[in-house]
């Protein structure tokens, strides 16, 4: 379980996240939602150890290790976008996810190959093994990148908008995969989502980040209320159900709240420029 208490993140001398407290349980999918610029990606980067932070972050009660490789074995991080700088094969790309486990010579052992085989089968990309990643469709590429982060077998999984730019079928498939990893392998999954209906149907718990720096966290139905969403997005919402599926529909726009926003990270910009 990931526990954050009094978590603050400073970027460029400015405090962009202040005094946050939340948890992400093992065996559950926790959704991280909130308007653009509220700091969802920043929060994930801080947890992944890419940004310095104040306050406490613990995994299963233990503080995060200072050593980067040790931390990489505990936390898998899937950034936004599916960028790959060289046209590697699918198998090699997934194998890169085993890096934190490799010895000094960098050779893959039997356990490493077994882990790679497993995640490739689970994500359904085994038949694409020898294809170059840039020749794949967007949905296939998203699954390759997901397999890459799953291969590390880390107890905590951070995914930054893994469903961006995917069709509804692929969106549901990616979230079903995350769900399976959470329940079958008792991982804590923390995923940034923008589609609120998708979040409503696929997350056990939600963390809603508000423009004023506050956070509403808890079981999904308790967070997804019309009032909370209005406070977060400045839009009135209808929260309803269609058959058995929760449905969150934005209705009318209110004036934009004058909340603080901060620039997107480089990673995000580059990923979109591609």
């Amino acid at each position: 379980m990931l526990t954050a208490t009094t978590l603050s993140v400073r970027q460029g001398g400015r405090c962009v996240l202040r005094n946050l407290a939340f948890t992400a349980r093992r065996g559950a999918v926790t959704g991280l939602i909130g308007p653009n610029g509220v700091g969802k990606s920043t929060l994930l980067r801080a947890i992944a150890g890419l940004l310095p932070h104040d306050g406490h972050l613990r995994i299963d009660g233990q503080p995060l290790p200072a050593d980067a490789r040790e931390r990489a074995r505990l936390i898998g991080y899937l950034p936004q976008g599916h960028h790959l700088h060289w046209p590697l094969t699918v198998r090699r790309t997934v194998e890169l996810g085993r890096l934190p486990h490799l010895g000094p010579l960098g050779r893959l052992g039997r356990a490493d190959r077994a882990a790679v085989d497993r995640v490739m089968a689970a994500t359904g990309i085994a038949p694409l093994s020898d294809r170059a990643v840039p020749t794949l469709s967007g949905g296939e590429r998203a699954r390759v990148m997901l397999a890459r982060v799953l291969a590390a077998d880390a107890p905590l999984l951070l995914a930054d908008e893994p469903t961006a730019a995917l069709d509804p079928g692929h969106q549901l498939r990616i979230l079903a995969l995350l769900r399976a990893e959470a329940t079958e392998r008792a991982r804590a999954v923390l995923v940034v989502l923008h589609d609120l209906s998708l979040a409503a149907r696929s997350c056990d718990n939600l963390i809603l980040m508000l423009p004023d720096g506050g956070v509403i966290a808890g079981p999904t139905p308790s967070v997804l209320t019309a009032e909370a969403l209005r406070a977060a997005y400045g839009v009135s919402f209808a929260v309803t159900r269609l058959a058995d599926t929760p449905l969150v529909v934005p209705l009318t726009t209110a004036p934009l709240p004058a909340g603080p926003s901060h620039p997107q990270t480089n990673a995000g910009v580059l990923a979109h420029a591609d």
């Binding site: 980067a68 060289w86 890096l99």
Partner: protein, 330 residues
């Protein structure tokens, strides 16, 4: 796995063939038997002198300089995730060249045989220190490339200034010829002076493979996989400075080897930056040795300079590469 054995076998055979051709080819053609007796020091003393004093240092230099340039190119391309990166690009080559020109300008090169290589390496080290300071402050690749371009322009300007103010036309000629890059008239001492630096730099670069592989996924992901990017950068820049600085110190600037060789070999190693390193060293060694043989065999009154040959072949290649990269980006 089998594919990489074939690749290594082929490249090693190529390097051996290039070395034998380099020992045998030239103004006095030698048979393999001649080479063998020349190397072992028995037989015709003139033969022994040609092989031991002229051809062997030249071939050894070609191999080590080529390996340094090919390996440095592959490592820099991996670090910058850009197939157009080259040791010349980050200013190391031109700064080493500046050091050498200073040695000529003050007449130090005539005073001591060590002045030229020492000053060239000092130039490479100075450029590296600047780059390291920049990299420690802001790790982005773009900053590194832009600083390299600025450094390289500064070195070229200072080199031009030295020529501009040169005491006599003879000094200018000497600087110019040296800057063109050549393996002609090098002594066994030259070959042995550069070797330890090239080996040390090469060892640093060869251990960077895993980090370079991870960088294929971007800087954030590489860091999240436990790669220490600052240390990786220090390793690559330091390795390139040692290997290229020592190469430029003994051979002048030989361009485009670090660009062409990794590019040709990349598809054969599945585009993996780590697996590209060693083959690029072997390919570079073979290419420079063969290119040097070509300069000796061309029927010209003045021997054509090696740097001129590699630039004549490399520059159009570079242009085609840029055009193709642009087309792929569209």
């Amino acid at each position: 796995m089998r594919a990489s054995f074939t690749l290594f076998g082929g490249l090693i055979a190529l390097v051996i063939a290039a070395a034998l051709a380099g020992l045998g080819g030239g103004y006095v053609p030698l048979s393999p038997a001649d080479i063998l007796s020349g190397l072992s020091g028995v037989g015709d003393p003139r033969l022994v002198a040609i092989v031991r004093e002229v051809r062997a240092p030249r071939v050894l230099l070609g191999l080590e300089v080529g390996a340094a340039l090919g390996l440095s190119g592959a490592a820099l391309q991996g670090l910058m995730r850009n197939p157009l990166a080259e040791p010349g690009l980050i200013g190391v080559s031109s700064s080493a060249g500046l050091g050498a020109v200073i040695a000529f300008y003050f007449g130090l090169a005539a005073l001591s045989p060590y002045a030229l290589p020492l000053l060239a390496m000092a130039g490479a080290v100075a450029a590296t220190l600047v780059l390291l300071a920049v990299a420690a402050r802001d790790g982005s690749t773009l900053t590194l490339i832009l600083s390299g371009i600025a450094l390289s322009s500064l070195s070229v300007a200072l080199t031009s200034l030295a020529m501009n103010l040169a005491p006599n036309p003879y000094a200018i000629t000497e600087m110019l010829l040296w800057l063109m890059g050549s393996l002609k008239d090098r002594t066994p001492t030259d070959a042995l002076t550069a070797l330890p630096f090239i080996l040390a730099g090469g060892a640093l670069l060869l251990t960077a493979g895993r980090g370079l592989d991870a960088l294929a996924l971007g800087e954030d992901t590489a860091r999240s996989l436990g790669v220490d990017l600052t240390r990786l950068r220090l390793r690559v820049i330091g390795g390139v400075a040692a290997a290229v600085g020592a190469s430029v110190a003994v051979s002048g600037s030989i361009g485009f080897v670090g660009l062409v060789v990794p590019h040709l070999l990349r598809p054969l190693v599945g585009h993996e930056p780590g697996r590209l390193l060693l083959p690029s060293a072997l390919g570079g060694a073979a290419l420079v040795t063969v290119a040097d043989l070509v300069t000796r065999l061309l029927p010209t009154t003045q021997e054509v300079m090696l740097g001129v040959v590699t630039a004549l072949v490399g520059a159009p290649f570079f242009l085609v590469l840029i055009l193709r990269a642009r087309r792929e980006a569209l």
